[in-house]
Every structure is written in C-alpha cells, then in structure tokens.
Amino acid sequence: MTTDHTGVLLDRFAELGRSVRDTYGPHSQASVFVLYEELISLRTVLTAERGHERVSQRVRDLREQIARAYLASGGAAPPPRREIISVDPPLLRFDREIFERRYSGVSGRVLAQTIEIRDPETPLDLLRPGASYMFVIDEMDRLLVWTRPFVLADLVFGRNRATVDGVPVAHPMLVPERLLARAAGEIVLIGANRVSMVVANTKSGHFQPPRESVTVVREACRRLFHLPGEDVDVFHLFPAAGTERTVR
C-alpha cells in the first residue's frame, strides 16, 4: 500500500502550527513564518497536481491568514526614507544621501550578484525553487533579484544579518543608479523546470511599497512567467500611497 505523503504533509504542518502557536503565540513571527513555509510547500505540491482539493483548500486558507498577519504588522514600520514620485503606477525613490552614506561602498558587489529575470525557465538555473530572495521592480518594470537566498535566521532577526563586507544588504542596493522602484520585497519562485507559481511580499522597510505595488508584482508575473492571478500570492504590508504626500 502506498503512503499518502500529501496527507502526512498536511497533518505534519497542522501539528507544527499548533505547537508553534502554543509555544510562541498565534501572532508571533514563528507562527506566521510556519504558515508562510506551509504555503510555499503546498504550492509546490500543487505544481504536480493542480486539482488536489484538500491542498487547494488549505492554500486558500493560508492566503487569508497570512494576508491578515502581514497587514497587522505593517504599522510597525519606521518612518519612510523614500519619496513617492507617483502613485499609480507607483514609483518610489530612496533617499540618495542615506544611500551614499550607508550602502554605496558595497552596492557594486551586490549589483554583481543581482540578475534580471526575463523568462520562466532561466531563473531556476540560478535561483533555488522555494527559497526567499530580495527583489526590486525598477522604473522600467525590470524584475531584479539578488541571488543570495535568505535563511530562517535572516527572516526572523531581520535582513540586517544578510551582509556583504559587514554592510546589511538593502533593496536600494539593487537599483543604485537611480534608486527608483515600483515594487520591492521578497520573492519565492516555485516550479521544477519553469516558474509555475510565485509567492511574494512587499517587505521592504527602505521603499515601503504602497498597495499599488501589489499590482506591479502581479503584472510582472503575468508578463514574465505567463502566470494567472490564482498562481501568484503577493502579501502586502503598507498603507495605500494615496494616504501619503506625493512629490508631484
């Protein structure tokens, strides 16, 4: 008799989720992290069988739970160090003076490790499916990804642990020339031979992307990977750009 590994996987995540909630609390980083990892894992399973009803239902539940957790945590953001150049489509510019002081010294090395994603196949030669990477979509709608994957400690302690020559890597370092972004955050590509699904977020304390950036990410996934909306998750943290002052 064949073991139902998918059933075991769902049960194992349920057990881990309960344990983490009991230990650290339902709103803890640990709890949300486990939900996020479960979503990535179950989406990976769905790439092999899209019609799996129990997995599909759980993915829908996870999307709602994670979306709520993200919105609840966005209010903790520090004051933004970027300007909103335009709202729709969104265009954000990070503070040049801060960039030069903190990041310019090593930004060339980060840029050398950054790739532009142009199609559904090539990125999986360079990036690990299921792993989180830092991304920016620049003013020319290019999807740029820093090729170092993040580990749990980076995500839990903050990405300041992800350094180059002791300098924490930040989203503006992916666009050092103009410091412009339409969207920024973390992205997970899912698929075997081509990108079949995407889980992303707008977690960038430096750019603090507005809600409008979610549409930018979804559009990039449609254009580059030919993915319908149902195969793309984009979790958002920050308020709509319309609630902040714009530059023009």
Binding site: T2, T3, D4, H5, T6, V8, L9, R12, F13, L16, V20, T23, Y24, G25, H27, S28, Q29, A30, V32, F33, V34, E37, S41, L42, T44, V45, T47, A48, E49, H52, A69, Y70, A72, S73, G74, A76, A77, P78, R81, G130, V151, L152, A153, L155, V156, F157, G158, R159, N160, P168, A170, A192, N201, K203, S204, G205, H206, L237
Partner: protein
C-alpha cells in the same frame, strides 16, 4: 514527478524547519525573536 513524491520531498523540508526553529529557540535572542508579535515583516533593523 507525482504529487505524492513531491509531498515526500516537502516532508523533509518540514523537518528542516523544525530543526531551524529548535536552533533559534536555543538562545535568548532567538527565542525572543520568534515570540515577536510584529510578524517579523518590518523588523526595525531592516531600515
């Protein structure tokens, strides 16, 4: 690859997550970070 085989591979990742959590929990700093209620998505040190 079949869905069942993919799930078997994903099960290994769950155990890796458990181990990572255990390692973080072993230090005061790590445990405190795991308990943080801001979901870690706007960590103060990220700016």
């Amino acid at each position: 690859m079949s869905e069942n085989l993919v799930s078997a591979q994903e099960l290994l990742k769950v155990e890796a997550i458990v181990e990572n959590l255990r390692e973080l929990d072993a230090t005061d700093e790590g445990r405190e970070a795991l308990e943080m209620a801001q979901a870690g998505f706007t960590h103060p040190d990220d700016v």
